[in-house]
Amino acid sequence: MIQAIDILVLALLACTAVSVVRMRSLWAAVMLTGIYSFLGAGWMLVLDAPDVAFTEASVGAGIATILMLSTLALTSTEMKRPAASPVFPLLIVGVTGAALCYGTLDMPHFGDPNSPIHQHVAPEYLKDAVPTVHQKELKVGIGNIVTTVLASYRGYDTLGETVVIFTAGLGVLLLLQGPRKAGGSDGREEGAP
């Protein structure tokens, strides 16, 4: 049953992606990417990943739509027809996709507890992060597994990610500010009493 829902939602995702690619009106493409994000978030929730789903919904459907629309205010809203034929890039993408699909055949089944990713370091993390009867004093001392892994075991990784995201946000905001007007700092003070 859940599998049928998965297949239907994934089919809708594929339909959305195809119509985003084929859409010439950029406004409609922005709306469709919002729909894509909602679908993706819903699907991640079906897969039991509510944190990823919530990030996808707030970033994809919320912030990204607004940022895209702000970009449309600076550019045109119609996409030009590409001059080159898309056959060769399509071939490359098709071959890469087929190779990736072939690669998934060797992967362990979804959610398999015996898969290598759940046997490598995860048991040790769980042992050190959860208080038990025998081990009251924790190695890390945070108590929440996700926070322990994110903020302690992968602390530098998380710091790097945060810096990258902050830089990207700063760059986007600076770009969207548009060309600076000559004279007034941003043109708003002129109208103020």
Partner: protein, 90 residues
């Protein structure tokens, strides 16, 4: 019963997607986006009860808020062409 509800929601989602793809005017597409957000909220809620773990209902609530604010932002943009305060632009 929940299965029928999920099927109905997915059918409505496909119709909204069709409207967003075909929709001749901007407002058809905004409406399709809004309908799609609402259907996602409903899908999350019904899926929670279908799998017997309605723990993510608060997430559905947050999606509803996000959808509402997003549609207001898009509508405002379609009217003024920017996100700045329209009172300051005059």
């Amino acid at each position: 019963m929940f299965v029928t509800a999920v099927a109905a929601i997915i059918v409505t989602m496909s119709l909204a997607l069709l409207r967003a793809t075909l929709g001749p005017t901007v407002f058809d597409r905004i409406l399709a986006l809004n309908v799609f957000g609402t259907k996602t909220v409903l899908l999350i809620a019904v899926m929670g009860f279908l799998t017997g773990r309605p723990d993510f209902l608060d997430l559905a609530l947050l999606y509803a808020l996000l959808n509402f604010i997003g549609v207001i932002a898009v509508l405002r943009f379609s009217k003024y062409g920017h996100f700045a305060d329209p009172e300051l632009g005059r």
